[in-house]
C-alpha cells in the first residue's frame, strides 16, 4: 500500500491547444508511433513534453479505453478526466495491489484519527471553559447557584463529521475516544478488507436501497466534484458527470 498520499495534481495545461501540422506530435501519438491528426483526441491533454503521463495511462487503462472514455465526455470535462486518469494510473503503478483505494484507506484512517483527536481536544477545552465559568461565578460571589454546564461530552460534539465510511460502503464503525475501534480496524489494510467485503456483500442491499442513503452520497459526490474542481486549479467550468448534474448514489452495484 502506498505510504504517502500525494496531492491530486493541479492541471497547468489548458484545453485549447491543438497540434498544427508543423508542431510535434502529441505524447500519445509519439508513443503509439502514428501520425498525430489535427483532431487527435489526446493532443490537448498529452503534450509532447510529458511522455510519462501517457505511458502510465496507457499501461493501466489502454489507449482505446481512454479514447472511449474521453469521447463520452464534454470537451470541458476531458482535461479533468485525463488528469484524474493519470493520477489513478500513477497510484496503480506505485501500488499495484491497492492503487488509489490504498490512498483512500490511508486518508480515511488519518481523518478518523484527526476526528478522534478533535473530539478529545474539544472535551478538554470544555473542561477548561467549565472551570473558567465556575471561577467567574465564584468571583462574582454567587454561592448556591446551580451550575448546569454542558458536559464535556456534549460540548465536544457539534462538528459535522463527515461519515467517511459511507462513500466506501463500510459499516459499523463509531467515533469517540471511549468507543475504540477494534485493534485490527485501526489497520488501514483491515479497513480495506472490510470495505471490499462489504462492497460485494452489500450488492443487492444497495441496489434496493434508496432515499436518504443515496441522497447523502449524492451530496458527498457533489461536494467531491466541487473539491476536485478546486484542486484542479479552477481553470475549468463547473464539472459535472457526463449526462447531467445529478449523480447516482455511490455504493457497489
Amino acid at each position: 500500500m502506498a505510504s504517502s498520499s500525494p496531492q491530486v495534481p493541479v492541471s497547468s495545461a489548458t484545453a485549447s491547444a491543438s497540434p498544427s501540422s508543423t508542431s510535434s506530435p502529441c505524447a500519445a501519438c509519439k508513443f503509439l508511433r502514428r501520425k498525430c491528426q489535427p483532431d487527435c483526441v489526446f493532443a490537448p491533454y498529452f503534450p509532447p513534453d510529458q511522455p510519462q503521463k501517457f505511458v502510465h495511462v496507457h499501461r493501466v487503462f489502454g489507449a482505446s479505453n481512454v479514447t472511449k472514455l474521453l469521447n463520452e465526455l464534454h470537451p470541458y470535462q476531458r482535461e479533468d478526466a485525463v488528469n484524474s486518469l493519470a493520477y489513478e494510473a500513477d497510484m496503480r503503478l506505485r501500488d499495484p495491489v491497492y492503487g488509489c483505494v490504498g490512498v483512500i484507506s490511508i486518508l480515511q484512517h488519518q481523518l478518523r484519527q484527526l476526528q478522534m483527536d478533535l473530539s478529545c481536544a474539544k472535551s478538554e477545552l470544555s473542561k477548561y471553559q467549565s472551570a473558567a465559568a465556575v471561577a467567574a461565578a465564584a468571583a462574582a460571589g454567587t454561592p448556591g447557584t446551580s451550575f448546569g454546564a454542558t458536559s464535556p461530552v456534549t460540548a465536544a460534539t457539534g462538528h459535522g463529521f463527515i461519515n467517511v465510511n459511507h462513500p466506501i460502503g463500510m459499516t459499523g464503525f463509531v467515533y469517540g475516544r471511549d468507543q475504540f475501534f477494534p485493534a485490527a480496524a485501526r489497520d488501514p489494510t483491515h479497513n480495506l478488507h472490510m470495505m471490499l467485503r462489504n462492497y460485494d456483500a452489500d450488492l443487492a442491499t444497495r441496489l434496493a436501497s434508496n432515499g436518504a442513503y443515496d441522497a447523502d452520497l449524492a451530496a458527498a459526490m457533489n461536494a467531491t466534484s466541487a473539491a476536485a474542481f478546486g484542486l484542479f486549479g479552477g481553470q475549468f467550468s463547473k464539472p459535472s458527470a457526463a449526462g447531467g448534474d445529478e449523480r447516482p448514489g455511490i455504493g457497489p452495484l
Binding site: 491530486v8 495491489v97 481523518l111 463527515i162
Partner: protein, 157 residues
Amino acid sequence: MSNPTRCAACRYLRRRCCEDCVLAPYFPSANPHRFACVHRIFGASNVARMLQQIPVEHRRQAADAIAMEAYWRVQDPVYGSVGFISMLQREISVVQRELAETQAQITMYASQAQSQPNQIAAAQCLVEDGHLVPSQPPFPGLYQRDDISQETLRRHF
C-alpha cells in the same frame, strides 16, 4: 481442460474458461456486472496482465481494488476514485484547522489557569462544598494539564 462454469470474464468475452484462467477466482459468474465495469475501464487484457504481475496471495485484494476503481469511474467518468481522495483531503484540512484552533484555545486556558491558580482553587472548593453544582466533578491535576496539552501539541504542530 476448460472450466465447466465459465467465470464472468470468459462469459463476457465469449471464450472458453480454462482451468488456469487468471481472472476466474476474482470474477465469479454470479457477479457479471463487476467484470463489465472492470472491462469497460481497464480492459480484460490489462487486468489479466496486472494480476499476473502480482503475487497470488495479493491478487484478491488487487482484483477488489481494481473493481472498486472501475465502479467509481463508471459512476463518475470525470473524477472516479480521485474524487473521493479530493474530498477526504479537503475534509482532513478542515479538521486539522479546527484542531489547531481548539488547541490554541486550550493553550490559552491552560496558561490562564497557571497564572490564576487561586481563583481555580476557590472555584474547586465551592464545587466540593456543594455550593456550585457543575455537571461533572472537579477534575484532578488541573495544574498538570500541560503535559497532555504539550503532548497533543507535539503531535499536531
